[in-house]
Symmetry: C3
Subunit: 348 residues, 3 copies
């Protein structure tokens, strides 16, 4: 480990904004949690419930919201959005490791591919015919870039990513290992009792500033294209089927599945393991809770949930049995109401 570079707190504020209270000369070299921070770290407080830990932190400085400006006597930065400020400080203190430009001698690059001089192609990567890799893009070891696919400027593909032919990844994207972009959609037609494959001739088009998690898969379109708009953030092991469109700045947590031709709006958030049925539309600014199955379109912004609450196994057994009789229970309630009205009438 080489010694980390440190910065004056005052210089950080000069660079990133915010209001400085206290000693501008304290030197900071890393971000850390309230509990694990050392005197050369800066930490942050986003929720009042962590105030006790703030009192005990060993951090050299702290990022606070305006409402907590006096909650600590440490050197501090006041910001309207402390979590976003922390993200900015962390990015400032942890720039991506420099990667040497150039094509590794073990990489296999078709001579018709266009690789920018400032791009980096890792060991054992394979780049197909007519593929393009733009300025400062980084293609990790073992990646495969198919024929006529293109990777935008400043994008980074970590090791062992696969991009199929004709697909396009925008600028400043990050794609994690094992992700597969542009595999065939699941298009089959029953023909005389057997499944016949429908060629998938659309593409997968990924916008700018998109992050794609490890082992996430994005299928190419059947006829038209699958589209991931700018600024979308995808966690690990997400499955996006053919002809899906995901609106700009939507964030999707791990293990989500989105079936064919679904359209997800902009600024949506899908919780982990949520599942979206095919051919439905979800409006902008919709939040889907983790584990929720969405089987029809959602037209209004808001939060939507549908998960079975767990309990101890014996209690679940007892309750779940009635689920299959809910219709019967409802009818019995209706019948009780009818008879009780009768009884009350007779009585009065």
């Amino acid at each position: 480990m080489t010694k980390r570079k440190s910065f004056r707190l005052g210089d950080i504020v000069k660079q990133l904004g915010g209001e400085l209270i206290g000693d501008a000369d304290v030197r900071i070299d890393q971000v850390a949690t309230l509990e694990s921070a050392r005197p050369t770290d800066i930490t942050f407080l986003t929720q009042p419930r962590f105030l006790p830990q703030l009192g005990q932190t060993q951090a050299g400085a702290v990022i606070l919201g305006p409402e907590a400006r006096d909650a600590s006597s440490l050197p501090r930065i006041i910001s309207a959005n402390p979590y976003a400020y922390f993200a900015r400080v962390s990015a400032f203190l942890n720039p991506p490791a420099a990667i040497e430009p150039g094509i590794h001698e073990s990489a296999v690059v078709d001579k018709s591919a266009r690789i920018a001089g400032s791009a980096s192609i890792g060991a054992c990567a394979v780049i197909g015919k007519h593929a393009q890799v733009a300025d400062h893009a980084i293609i990790g070891p073992g990646c495969f870039i198919g024929e006529a696919a293109s990777i935008g400027a400043g994008s980074r593909l970590h090791a062992n990513v696969t991009v199929y032919h004709d697909c396009r990844i925008g600028a400043r994207c990050i794609v994690h290992s094992g992700a597969v972009i542009g595999s065939d959609g699941f298009g089959i037609a029953k023909d005389d009792g057997v499944w016949r494959k429908i060629p998938q001739i659309g593409r997968a088009l990924i916008g700018d500033d998109v992050e794609i998690g490890a082992n996430t898969t994005i299928d190419r379109g059947a006829l038209d294209d699958t589209v991931i708009e700018d600024g979308v953030k995808l966690d690990n092991q997400i499955q996006i089927a053919h002809n899906v469109r995901i609106g700009a700045c939507t964030a999707i947590a791990g293990c989500v599945g989105i079936a064919g031709s679904a359209r997800i709006g902009r600024h949506c958030m899908l919780g982990g393991a949520a599942m979206i049925l095919g051919h439905i539309t979800i409006a902008d600014h919709v939040t889907v809770s983790a584990g929720t199955f969405i089987m029809k379109s959602i037209d209004e912004p808001g939060t939507y949930t549908g998960v079975y609450p767990f309990s101890s196994h014996p209690r679940w057994l007892k309750n779940a049995a009635h689920l299959r009789q809910l219709d019967d229970l409802a009818k019995r309630i209706h019948e009780l109401e009818r008879r009780l009205v009768q009884t009350e009438r007779n009585h009065s």
Copy 2:
């Protein structure tokens, strides 16, 4: 992009069957949706609800069912199964890209492996001892084929597929990137408080005409083999555990999990994210809805469903609380019925 090859509509019908109505000389070079078709495209109609779009399509020709033979004045092909016919036309117009046979100089092929002269081994692929790759098979860049594994004639493994030792993939299969065939099943035994691994000595045997989606995993058997029968179609990110058997022509959508030793019948359809418990049996011709958890065997053909319906979050909170009290609610209904009978009796 090179200019696409076009065909007379009459020649397409000569090749693929169906009844031609209208100008046989219109030239077609691609398939497209009703909305995006251009005059050199052929499109199709599978459901009456798309009739309005049919009236407005710019397509040069259209595939229709017998009931819709007069729904358009365009040159048209009448077929009993327009969707299957469309699949055939698309396959005809979009043959797989030709791949040059031969072993790429960067591939690492054990000298005991048997590679057909017409097969293609991609860059940086690794082929183990005694492995076999049959005629016209294509092994993509970065693939690994383990010791004594075999790949059937005409099968294509896209980039970065892994096939473990001794596994067998049949003829005319397609395996997408990131798929793993023959990894160890999850076999462990508790022994003095720690887990002891059970060697997985079975194989994974994949039939002919099987398609396997991106990042799908199929474990080898513990003692006997895991078997995927002919014509099975698997979407992305499916997990198939050890000793599962999947019957011929079954189609399984993305994100499905099938636990150990489950047996799925022939001609089944499993919707996305369905989960099948271990050691159960599902009859032929069963459809499982997306998101459904199957925890016991199904003996009869039909469609089976079990998903929690979503609602707005506050409404879900209100309703879900009662789920844990369903048994109590059922008892209260029963008690009401008992007392009401008593009241009615006393009254009469």
Copy 3:
């Protein structure tokens, strides 16, 4: 296939313990199920319901529990835990294939990496700067080991595994193909309407004797580390988010997702496709049933379940509609009770 090496039953007992009944000279070369065993196989019985198959097995010997010691006249080994004994016999008869030590000439190993002389680096594997591979470790073809990552003694990474920079895998681990260790956690902060990435500066630390299934992903920590303790067993396609901690000897089945900062106890078992929400804690010795969504902490050992029971589709439709009205149904029951009390009172 080379001829398998066989062992006298007496020598197996000498090696592995247990009580031998019957002919010590029978020769055994493999384990098998009751149904498929041949005379040179040893089989086992773990549950009384398989007694009929025991009567018909062709096996040369059988492993039985003390309660079944006389259930067969075959040569037999009596063990308190027949399943664990079977695991031991199988491991004895099926030692891992020997892999030649050394670095394959097609592998790309940074000259600052430290590779033990007894380790094996497969074809087209790529090993980064300052990475370490310990004694007898095996790095499969196409693997990527990032900068300063370390792989412990005797661990085996199958083909196409990715380990990011600075991550640590302990001794005697097994990692299956397509697994990704140390990818960035899903850390983003909303900043002026767009998502800003939070650098993930923690590591993923994997203990000793851990098995990681195919295409499983384990993210590195955001600030602190993600930790998988010793003896944990992970099946395929599991997603483990940043800053999760999984206690020693916990076993997790396929398709499970564990959200950020969740803490799973020791000796837990999570069934397939279970989902664990972020920031919750699960006590030691907890079993979560397959398909169950855990949305709050569990403090007590036991088995917990929450899955929607499936039924035929029409029946599901009928019952599910009432789920959204459960609160209403409960209120109607309450109202009936109130009115019935009134009626009863008036009547008496």
